[in-house]
């Protein structure tokens, strides 16, 4: 069933049409990869859906409810969560505390005064479980700001995951990560979201990663949807190959 739908979603930055009349439908349970060359509008699309930016036109529906005017917090509450391309963490916090903060927030305890945050066994226990799922449990007491790049990216996703999303947007989860680590990271992420049956939309540039994990691929170009279909269909699509690879030979 359709979880998310956008109609004519549009965003301009001055002259440039970053997102230009985009209609997409994301079905529940899918793992979708969002591909396209730089400037195609992928991150802007995610920004619009997560309410990081306001659209100039168009509407967004979640479970058939019009959420176009909703604030970021309202969207998070129904389960629309995102990670960030540049790992966005609480750098002075430990890895555990980063995840715990998300748990506190999700449980509505972020402004609680009467108890000690560090002694909340329930929250910390859950945070530890999340870390285990992501393979970060050995780093639980490390300071997030000092982690190596790949682990920061993984932690960024773990924090988003701790919010128990229904629809998770990953903004280039493996960018900047060495080839060897890319697979480990994506394996972890894919395993976690599949186990949790979380609908996932991942912006990704690495075609190997894209074809290995996706149920469906959406290709964007200059703010518009270029192609949308199964990996095989995209593989054979000449336009996609032209725009993404610069050659007419298919992928």
């Amino acid at each position: 069933m359709a979880l998310l739908q956008t109609k004519n979603l549009t965003k301009h930055f001055g002259e440039s049409r970053a997102v230009d009349g985009v209609d997409i439908v994301i079905d529940e349970g899918e793992f979708v990869s969002l591909i396209g060359s730089n400037g195609a509008g992928k991150t802007t699309l995610v920004n619009l859906i997560s309410a990081y930016l306001e659209p100039d036109a168009g509407e967004i529906f979640f479970r058939h409810q019009n959420i176009s005017q909703w604030s970021p917090i309202a969207r998070i509450k129904v389960g629309i969560v995102r990670s960030f391309q540049l790992a966005s963490l609480f750098d002075t916090f430990t890895v555990l505390d980063n995840v715990a903060q998300a748990v506190f927030s999700r449980e509505g305890k972020s402004i609680r005064l009467g108890t000690a945050a560090d002694r909340n066994a329930g929250v910390r226990g859950e945070a530890r479980q999340v870390l285990e799922e992501f393979g970060l449990q050995t780093r639980a007491d490390s300071i997030a700001g000092k982690l190596p790049h790949g682990e920061r990216k993984l932690l960024d996703v773990a924090v988003a995951y701790a919010l128990r999303p229904k629809l998770l947007f990953l903004d280039e989860p493996t960018s900047g990560v060495s080839t060897r680590d890319k697979n480990t990271i994506m394996d972890t992420i894919a395993a976690v979201v599949r186990a949790g049956k979380i609908t996932t939309v991942a912006i990704e540039h690495d075609m190997d990663v894209v074809f290995k994990y996706s149920d469906r691929i959406i290709a964007m170009h200059q703010g518009r949807i270029l192609a949308d279909g199964s990996p095989d269909a995209i593989r054979g699509n000449e336009e996609v190959a032209l725009n993404l690879l610069g050659t007419s030979a298919t992928i």
Partner: protein, 338 residues
């Protein structure tokens, strides 16, 4: 592993409690050991420590630098002074309750305007708004006596049971008031500790570290900042009320923005990256300023030079530097960190 963590935390906790208890006892024993003048200085220090604790909730924990906290300090002080003058009230408890209320309201008002803004603008805005209060105190001579200020007699303590009149009143007051302030200081520190260790305290820090991410994990950033502002201003307002009986005279100087600068200075001196830093800074500053003023007419120059030195060489202040030294010498670190 979970068990290990709890044990080591437990160990650290009982060590901290022990240290706090020792310091608490020392605090309470002071007047028996030192001269009335030293006791008075220490009382000033404790009062400023309360102000600094409040101030640092915004700076150290929430990442908001305010050059306008004199507004809250002055609100507390003037509330008490005006009540004394126009309502003939002399009960310290009444002063405190009223001062807390007015400081709370003032913080709420300031907060609504200021917390929508990012760091630099926030600093400037709070400063500019605090000047509104200064100009009101300065210009409405009929009510506040302008720069001549208001005089206030010794208040009564403990519901009127302790009064200070007649011969030897001053000496008796110094001792009694010291204990009064010391107890309130310990209470304030306990409350602030509770705030900073709570999930709310953690949330403030998450906002400080990464406002965007905080918002995108569902935290109401503006509301939290406003709440921090409320606590911060109210604490500083309490300090203003407690300060008044020590000075027994209040002028608009206590609302003028360079006084906010003093609060900033003493917090940075002690170290704004830890809980105890502001306390240490306030106490150190109380002595530093007194001796600087006695030593040279140009003590402001000295303070400026010290501040620059601190920021460039010892940005973590006294407490932070001591912790670094302790770590180098491999001593156990017991000073409560943020």
């Amino acid at each position: 592993m979970k068990g290990d963590a709890i044990t080591s935390r437990g160990g650290a906790i009982s060590l901290r409690l022990a240290v706090a208890a020792i310091l608490g006892c020392a605090l309470l024993a002071i007047p028996q050991l030192v001269s009335p003048y030293q006791t008075l200085l220490l009382t000033y220090g404790l009062v400023m420590a309360i102000a600094a604790l409040g101030f640092n909730l915004l700076l150290g924990y929430t990442g908001l630098l305010s050059f306008g906290h004199s507004a809250f300090f002055g609100t507390g002080a003037y509330t008490a002074a005006l009540m004394a003058k126009y309502l003939g009230i002399h009960s310290m408890e009444t002063f405190i309750l009223a001062g807390l209320a007015t400081a709370f309201l003032m913080s709420a008002l300031f907060g609504v305007v200021c917390v929508r803004h990012t760091r630099i603008f926030f600093a400037i805005l709070v400063m500019a708004l605090s000047q509104v209060l200064w100009t009101l105190a300065y210009k409405f001579y009929g009510i506040t006596n302008g720069t001549d200020g208001l005089n206030v007699p010794f208040p009564t303590l403990l519901g009127g049971s302790l009064t200070f009149r007649g011969a030897g009143a001053y000496q008796r007051f110094i001792v009694a008031y010291y204990y009064y302030v010391a107890v309130l200081f310990l209470l304030s520190a306990a409350v602030m500790w509770m705030i900073t260790q709570s999930p709310f305290g953690k949330t403030l820090q998450s906002i400080r570290d990464n406002q965007t991410r905080a918002e995108f994990i569902g935290i109401r950033v503006r509301l939290c900042r406003w709440m921090a502002f409320l606590f911060s201003g109210t604490f500083t307002g309490l300090a203003g009320v407690l300060w008044l009986p020590l000075n027994r005279h209040v002028t608009p100087d206590v609302l003028y923005w360079p006084f906010s600068g003093e609060i900033v200075f003493l917090t940075v001196l002690g170290g704004f990256q830890s809980f105890s830093g502001p306390i240490v800074g306030a106490l150190a500053f109380s002595y530093l300023k007194t001796y600087a003023v006695a030593w040279t007419e140009y003590w402001q120059f000295l303070l400026g030079a010290v501040l620059i030195f601190l920021v460039m060489a010892l940005p973590t202040g006294i407490v932070g530097t001591l912790e670094l030294l302790a770590a180098r010498l491999k001593w156990p670190s017991f000073k409560p960190r943020i």
